[in-house]
Amino acid sequence: MSIQHTAAAHIHRDDVASRMGMWLFLFTELLLFGGMFILYSVYRFTHPQDFHLAAKELNTVIGTFNTAILLTSSLTMALSIAAIQRRQKTLSIIFQLITILLAFGFMVNKYFEWGAKFHHGIYPGSDTLLSKPSGEILFFGLYYVMTGLHGLHVIIGVVIIAFMTVFTLRDVITHDNYVKLEAAGLYWHLVDIIWIFLFPLFYLIT
């Protein structure tokens, strides 16, 4: 962050500031989803029965599987930082690649899950959905928007981590300068945390 085009001698690096900036940015992500959780909580409060019925359409097995995938990817992300701290560059890269792979796995599952819903005619604006009670329309509206935006964050995360892998390969990220990888990790863990809440709220209403 501190590469400036000035010739001055004071180019200084402040990793704490970089991490602080990243945390502050994550708060905005948290509240971005927070706004949708507010929406969810109110509609669930006003339409408890419809939410109950609508949630039965979701596949708990796929949901649980995806939770496990995302938690594991969080682990490998954390491990890649631990590895770079110990000067184990190759190991760090392997962990990053596994993280990316797991993220792909998550998205593939998501694709099949959404595909099945579309197949059953449950998608925004469809006649099947519009014939359902209003609480179910809202449930699926929120389901698509919240998991959709989360999925978008997963894709962005994959791109970011891919960049980090290139940086590690090129020794831009090294054992004593890895704040970029840390920031990417923070972002990835936040995506995980969002899912930790999405999972029980959508898949586990019984």
């Binding site: 200084h12 690096r13 402040d14 990793d15 704490v16 991490r19 602080m20 945390w23 502050l24 708060f27 948290l30 509240l31 927070g34 507010i38 909580s41 109110v42 409060f45 006003t46 708990t60 649980t64 939770t67 496990a68 938690l71 594991t72 969080s74 682990l75 992300m77 954390a78 491990l79 930082i81 631990a82 701290q85 004593d176 704040v179 840390e182 990790g185 923070l186 863990h189 995980d192 945390i193 930790i196 809440f197 999972f199 029980p200 709220l201 586990l204 019984t206």
Partner: protein, 101 residues
């Protein structure tokens, strides 16, 4: 680098710690799925959210190294969560008492 020690906090957990946390997270996921089938009545949602909060706490403190960051970071997280919680609580001072139609 002269500011070596300043830039590197002690964000150095061993591999083992991360694996343990991961195991705990998986176990909690299992628990939340298992108890979802049981009807606790009004506290069903509370149970799910409590487990999710424990998982979040683990991710925040260990994976995201919050435990080894300075106090400022922890205060920051507290402020952000407080703002979110205030929004929920105040919103429900309206919706809990609403009588429509």
């Amino acid at each position: 680098m002269e500011n070596h020690s300043k830039n590197h906090s002690h964000n150095q957990h061993g591999y083992g710690v991360y694996f343990l946390v991961w195991l705990a997270l998986m176990a909690l996921t299992g628990i939340t799925v298992a108890v979802a089938g049981i009807n606790f009545g009004r506290i069903t949602v509370a149970t799910a959210l409590t487990i999710a909060s424990i998982k979040t706490y683990l991710v925040l403190t260990i994976f995201m190294h919050l435990r080894s960051e300075s106090k400022t970071f922890r205060v920051f997280v507290g402020v952000a969560l407080l703002f979110l919680i205030i929004s929920f609580v105040l919103l429900f001072t309206d919706y809990s008492f609403i009588v429509r139609n």
